[in-house]
Point group: C2
Chain length 332, copies 2
């Protein structure tokens, strides 16, 4: 297997996670980092080239990547970057604004199809692996509905996408958003009720926000709780905290989640499917999944495929470093 | 979507489960049943044609199936049937003798490639969905190992493959095999030890056997505990019971299982992935999965693909009745 050359586009928490993940994936090598602020990144990184993200043709020519892993946020970064970058190189991203995925797919698919590149969109935990588990559960239990829950533990799970969204609000210096599953709703699914939940029936959102000294906290709160898609559909609690308190109590990235489906087989035998994950570091989890999808993107491209893909379009073996022979012999 | 015409080949517990499952999958229709004993099946079935399994060209011509779901046992039926039937029609099967899968794949792949048909092999719970979950966990957590455990409850889980294997032994009139997970081993995996288990470290096997009146029970016991692949690697307990006791206490098909993997992300953050299922009817569970794979087999064939496939080779969307637009809009 020839080594896959990876460019990391965007050097935040997920980008750092991708760098760490590449160390654990011997079939891949970091070709370089591209950023909107290369000088900032160069303070931390000296062993690989760091180039300006907007100079796409230049860094593609210079770094010769097989794939770029796009690590920007879903609110402002990816909607602008992905369709441009996939004109020149295969890409993978974790665009996570669920309600906008169809339009995002369409835009990226048009660009990637025209350029003959592969662009795997919206992968990570959810959308991503959880999407796949929901579709599989529904396929194997027709008539059932599969549900994704996050933050089953006492402290909930940290959502990077929602934290990013908070930080885009004027007057917000820093913020973390913890998602809490509503356990009574999980019980309803396990009981086989196949309930028709609104998003707000399944989760609550708890925000810890550091506001600028002169910021209007009421205005920030209103902007948060009314943000479409991210917060408007949920019971949302906004707590203003000091930068010190945020760092001390809320600096980790723990995350956990559950996909759960109940249904019947045949004429009424009960059936249940559950998929759980627990992560010490949510961005590193996303990074690990992005890296496996980067491998798949290169394989798809090597087959002459082009356009936008999601995890639903990719055979599972494409994520693995293992050979077909090894998979048949030891993993079936 | 045009309706998929399905032939069910073999009318045992899984075959009955497939018939029930087809009722819940409105994109499919039962074209007929083929059996080695059509007269026996006709006593139960009158609404569709029942033909002789060995007359393959005749029933393919008469029933015009898009796919045949092969519901025979792995020990004697499928090794002989699959490579013959896939010369004439796309097939799906649940061949579950793990150690023989590479040779089985090779033989079926040669036949299906020559005939231009698609043959999806070795699907169901394990091998099948559990295989996929093991490979995905390993891909997303490099360096981890993913493990499959069965029968976590007090009564264990009923293994159809192993029960079939028992019934092939001379002097055995009927039998059930319950698999029991060794819980201390699950705990080792959850603790992140990534242990190197032998099969016998993970499961025990408990057999309930009805022997013929004149049978040599010691000989049967010896034949069971020494059967390669199925029983030899495990601590196996053989209990001889009456036909009445077997029917009263062991006639259900409950089943449950767990895939569990622990590892790290980055430089040492803990990570855990678990996939669980619980089934009131194991053969109906296998049947539901076979039916979803039959849909995928037809789609692969419609794309001009040919040869043998496992679940690892199939994009998850191929199992679903939902359109691409619906999946992007509501399931990602």
């Amino acid at each position: 297997m020839s080594t896959i050359r990876v460019v990391v586009a965007g050097y935040g928490n997920v980008g750092r996670g991708v760098l760490a993940s590449l160390e654990n994936n011997p079939d891949m090598v970091l070709a370089g980092i591209v950023s909107r602020s290369p000088e900032r990144v160069k303070k931390e990184i000296s062993n690989v080239p760091v180039l300006l993200m907007n100079d796409i043709e230049q860094w593609v020519s210079e770094l010769r990547p097989d794939v770029a892993i796009l690590c920007g946020g879903s609110k402002n970064d990816l909607p602008e970057q992905t369709a441009n970058i996939c004109r020149f190189v295969n890409t993978v991203d974790s665009f996570d604004n669920h309600s906008c995925i169809p339009q995002y797919f369409e835009k990226v698919n048009t660009a990637a199809t025209a350029s003959g590149k592969v662009s795997v969109i919206s992968t990570g935990w959810d959308p991503g692996v959880f999407s796949m588990e929901r579709v599989l559960a529904n396929s194997f239990l027709p008539g059932s509905r599969a549900y994704g829950f996050y933050g089953l533990g006492e402290n909930g799970g940290l959502s990077m996408g929602h934290s990013d969204a908070l930080r885009t609000i004027a007057g917000v210096l820093d913020a973390r958003q913890y998602t809490h599953a509503i356990h009574a709703s999980i019980d309803k699914v396990r009981n086989g009720e196949n309930p028709a939940f609104t998003p707000g029936d399944m989760h609550e959102r708890v925000c810890f926000v550091v506001a600028a000294p002169d910021a209007d906290k009421e205005k920030i709160t209103a902007e948060i709780v009314n943000m479409p898609g991210y917060f408007a559909p949920y019971k949302t609690t906004v707590n203003f905290v000091s930068a010190e308190e945020l760092k001390e109590k809320y600096s980790g990235f723990p995350h956990d989640g559950l996909v759960v489906a109940s249904g019947i087989t045949g004429k009424g035998n009960p059936a249940g499917i559950e998929y759980r994950c627990q992560w010490g570091s949510n961005p590193e989890a996303t990074a690990n999944i992005l890296v496996a999808h980067a491998r798949a993107a290169v394989r798809l491209a090597n087959e002459g495929r082009k356009g936008a893909f999601t995890i639903l379009d990719i055979p599972p073996a494409y994520f693995s470093t293992l050979s077909k022979e090894e998979l048949l012999k030891h993993w079936m």
